[in-house]
């Protein structure tokens, strides 16, 4: 496997991106429309997560197998969420 030969500069740029996203997330809480606000606050962190996973955790220079391992947990977590949602979204609560 090709080992990571990122430059220090690239790493700092990624960090900069993470901080920028953090500021954007905080800025989102100023948005008036509550649905837009919630959507931003829930999706922008996913972008941060991707930056860390792809760059800091070297997925960008790893074989596809590693992507599969990285995605596996998320895949099954999604199935957990989806089927539990299937129950809670169709059940009348209180």
């Amino acid at each position: 496997m090709k080992t990571n030969l990122q430059s220090k500069k690239a790493i700092i740029i990624v960090w900069g991106g993470l901080v920028l996203l953090l500021l954007l997330i905080i800025a989102s809480s100023f948005v008036e429309n509550s649905s837009v606000r919630a959507a931003l606050i829930l999706t922008l962190p996913l972008a941060q997560m991707l930056l860390v996973a792809v760059f800091f955790m070297h997925l960008c220079v790893s074989p596809k197998l590693y992507w599969a391992f990285a995605a596996a947990g998320l895949f099954w977590l999604t199935s957990l969420f989806t089927l539990v949602a299937c129950d809670y979204l169709t059940r009348r609560w209180h």
């Binding site: 089927l83 299937c86 169709t90 209180h94």
Partner: protein, 538 residues
Amino acid sequence: MSEAEPSYLSAGDTLGSWLLTTDHKRIGLLYLFSILFFFFIAACAAALMRLELLTPQGDLVFSETYNKLFTMHGVLMVWFFLIPSVPSVLGNFLVPLMVGARDLAFPRLNLLSWYLFVVGGFFVMHAIVIGGVDTGWTFYTPYSSAYSNSHVIQMALGIFIAGFSSILTGLNFIITIQKMRAPGLTWFRLPLFIWSMFATSIILVLATPVLAITLVLLSVERIWGVGIFDPKLGGDPVLFQHLFWFYSHPAVYIMILPGMGVVSEIIPCFARKKMFGYRFVAFSSMAIAMIGFLVWGHHMFVSSQSIYAGMVFSFLSFLVSIPSAIKVFNWTATLYRGSITFGAPMLYALGFIGLFVMGGMTGLFLASVAVDVHVHGTYFVVAHFHYIMVGGMVTAFMGGMHFWWPKITGRLYPPLMAQIAAALLFLGFNLTFFPQYILGYLGMPRRVHDYAPEFQIYNVLSTIGASVLGLAYLLPLIYLVWSLRYGKPSGANPWEATGLEWKTPSPPPKHNFNETPIVMEEAYNYPSNKDHGDPEHV
């Protein structure tokens, strides 16, 4: 044949060389001794339960005691016998051998996994000894989190620790199978046992953490009196059931997939034919593992889960039966026109197929919401899962132990005794559990120690069956131990089976192979329509 290296059994004979071993074969044996211990305790609990159920009145034990007995039976059998049985005993022993490696990827993690298992078991046994738990192995809230006066947290802690044992074992297998296959051993040349272990390991690794955190949440709720399943705070006890069964349903596939893998090794060998539809069987293992994660709600049809979710889970549960059925068809097709002999491993494998089909079919009955409403919480469910777990899994475990016993110990056992034991198991099992289908259908609830008098005859039959079953477990214990001293030496390949594990001496040397084997043949390269007694043709 080089005799230079001693077998793994004689490489070091101090206690330390066993307790600090990193040899996967020795660790497999350490697990074997441990699970037999827990099996024995759990079987005693079952014996007491079956004795109690001889009469309609609850006259042998108090109901609280009975609750503790079935909890103990469930917890020990599920987590300390069934889940580790094939993976941690046969899997640990065979996976490196079958892929042509010297050991698993992480031998020290393997040893750690055994110690975690033992420590977990210690906590569970301690909880039992100081008074036990009465919630059932399912720990439903809010009884377990708020009202039970029994030692829930200690038992939960024991299971939590043992869970890490599972995770480490699964992790080890995944990496070993992925990365350490011998040259030429492509994925589709692997023994189907390895495919089963790989699929099982995916479940071990991804489902067990959910159980772990669920037990943590349960314990937090018990300790501090507040928590997320607490109805007083607006919490939902059904959420516990979602989380619990998200693990526990895939857990039953952890239990059965390895057994299917064992059967997939025995059938081609004793029918002297390559596995029919190899790729179908391989992909079915993966499909069972994946779809098995999506069906847990069928344990919750009457829990107040939404009816729409119930329908979705019902549909998915029907879907998950398909890959299992595919396997059964392929085993059958392998048997068709094979040169079948009926050695003990084969008897167990055949028993597995029949009993698994019955258990699986009744699973389909339970997957239909309408039927389940009628039989949920009755002995029908108990019969169903015992058909799969005992009729399926324990039978497969016995079959596997008999098949690989010569490899593990270098000895042969008396064949007729073994065949008798296998037949006895089949008979005793059916006598024990078939009446329970009828009981459940007629309405006898599970987890109660007294019942309406009209159910007595079936309970008596069941208890008689359990005694026969006990004998069927005892017999192999006797002759297998006997064989250690007096059994004929087996040689490297007494069954003339294919597979890398048979190409090394019995018992294998510590490092498995003198040189890394190179694989150039397909799996199950049995010559068809030849005399199986002629070694030249193997």
